[in-house]
């Protein structure tokens, strides 16, 4: 692609260079002299500061007041805590069950099975979790923070996503270390992490654990006016370790979500057509590129159905799948049983396999 270069007056550019060098170096000089001024008086300042600090300590000690003051959570910290705790709790509590080996073996034999279908379970869980971001509903605004007194935790943060209540109890110290737990209904996850703030940089790491599963989310922001939010996710679910990068890009009227796992990529966006909402996704899986249109509808039993129209290579396919969250209550009971009885887990997986094979129609282009 041809570069677009305006014609530039070289002489003018050279004059500008000398002017810029002079002015920048002058500003640097001023900055340094200001610093050296303070350096000179550093010892005196340090002495005065230490005396004041000593005085404050003495006053506090003698008045008998409790020196403990909880550190306040600021707006950015709260927003990012809510987002990362929601993402980690949502993924870990749904304990993404990737397509089983047997299922995959059958799929490999069937030429008409697209790469997307082989990864659909995992994609679906991420799609459900990230839909709240794509729908551009800032659920973090509705989070309620409560300061707890004389309890195991300093703070309680409540928020609702898709009608589900997330309760996050946490402590954090002045070094930014976080410990806590997240509860969604009867499911509980143990959490630890760390905040770091330097000038215009903000970093947050949060790890949620449930039984042998864990998910660690790292968030880093370098500018305050970010239009893209990036999360690095490291997870170990059902003894399978993986790393993903999730980018959420906010624009005035649209939101895009990109999921990158190694060489694989999903780019998801949402738009409206004739009054109905359509999610469009471009992907690259195992070096195969494809597109999926996802539409959402409600069936006669009130269940949410996602219809996928997949185009991958020479194939075009339509698949209908139920929203896994609609079986939430049943799943919750299953999970409790699973913890006691491994046999039930195997049966549940077989049930999941059956769900995937519903209403598939295939034709070659």
């Amino acid at each position: 692609m041809e570069k677009m270069n305006r014609e530039i007056n070289e002489q003018r550019m050279e004059i500008s260079k000398s002017k810029i060098i002079d002015s920048v170096m002058e500003r640097i000089e001023k900055k340094s002299s200001f610093r050296s001024f303070f350096k000179e008086f550093k010892a005196k300042f340090a002495l005065v500061f230490m005396s004041i600090a000593l005085l404050v300590v003495v006053v506090i000690a003698t008045t008998g007041n409790d020196p403990y003051q909880p550190i306040a959570l600021n707006e950015v910290q709260t927003k990012k805590l809510v987002e990362t705790s929601y993402m980690s709790a949502s993924i870990i509590s749904n304990a993404v069950v990737s397509t089983t080996a047997t299922q995959l073996a059958f799929m490999e034999l069937d030429d008409s099975v697209t790469e997307f279908e082989k990864n659909i379970d995992e994609f679906n869980y991420y799609f459900n979790m990230l839909k709240v971001f794509i729908d551009n509903s800032d659920f973090t605004e509705n989070a309620v923070i409560e300061e707890l007194i004389d309890q195991n935790y300093q703070y309680k943060i409540n928020y609702l996503v898709d009608g589900k209540e997330y309760v996050f109890f946490l402590n954090f110290d002045d070094e930014g270390n976080i410990t806590g737990e997240i509860n969604i209904g009867s499911r509980k996850m143990i959490v630890d992490g760390k905040f770091e703030e330097k000038e215009d940089e903000f970093e947050l790491e949060l790890t949620a654990r449930r039984n042998n599963d864990f998910i660690k989310i790292e968030y880093k922001s370098e500018t305050s006016d970010e239009i893209e939010t990036k999360y690095l996710i490291k997870q170990n679910i059902n003894s399978v370790y993986s790393e993903k990068e999730i980018k959420i890009e906010f624009d005035s009227d649209e939101v895009k979500v990109e999921i990158i796992q190694g060489e694989d990529e999903f780019l998801l966006e949402k738009y409206s057509e004739n009054g109905s909402v359509i999610y469009f996704m471009e992907y690259e899986l195992n070096e195969l590129e494809g597109e999926v249109y996802i539409t959402e509808s409600i069936d006669e039993f009130g269940k949410t159905i996602y219809s996928y129209h997949i185009t991958e290579g020479d194939y075009e396919k339509d698949i209908d799948l139920e929203d896994p969250d609609d079986d939430e209550d049943e799943d919750e009971e299953d999970i409790e049983d699973d913890e006691e009885d491994d046999e039930d887990e195997k049966i549940d997986e077989e049930d999941d396999d059956l769900m995937l094979n519903s209403q598939i129609s295939t034709y070659n282009l």
Binding site: M1, K3, M4, N5, R6, E7, I8, N9, Q11, R12, M13, S16, K17, K19, I20, I21, S23, V24, M25, R27, I28, S32, T223, D225, I227, E228, E249, D251, E254, K256, E258, I260, E265, E284
Partner: protein, 180 residues
Amino acid sequence: MHMEDFEIIKQVLEEDKNKYALLIDKYHNELFKYVYNMTNSYSETEDLLQEIFFKIYKSLKKYNQKKASFRTWMYRIAKNYVLNHLQSARVRIKNNTYEYDDSINKSSEDIEEMAVKNDQINKVLGVMKQVLSPKHYEIMHLHYFSNLTVKEISETLMIPDKTIYKAIKVSVEKLKKEVT
């Protein structure tokens, strides 16, 4: 090349801040072209570059040569600064006015050619802003107006180069539709 920059940075940070002038001297012209392509104004480019080079100096301690070359790191700062600046309504109005330069000394054919080219660039810039998402806009403005390669744009924006290629392809198609 890379080591040279790092050596200068080390000296600036440790012993001789005046060495920073070497870095300005080295990168001034390419950043000037990049910024001027976006602003179409010499005085505005000069003002922006002063701020950008000072900002780079202030951030020098944060530079990590393991993560990016100094050049792409510098572009990251310049890109953020210029785009933020251009987003303000005040600047948008100012951009529509032309500044006097010595083009009067050129032949009338040259002036006409320059004006057509400037108009084309302004049009493309306007369309880019309208039809591209912010991320694609960032990619395309680096692609068109800087001398960075796709690999360098990838390093500047911290986005995989495959995504950059794809974004350029999609954006060019969108722009072609709008411009033609």
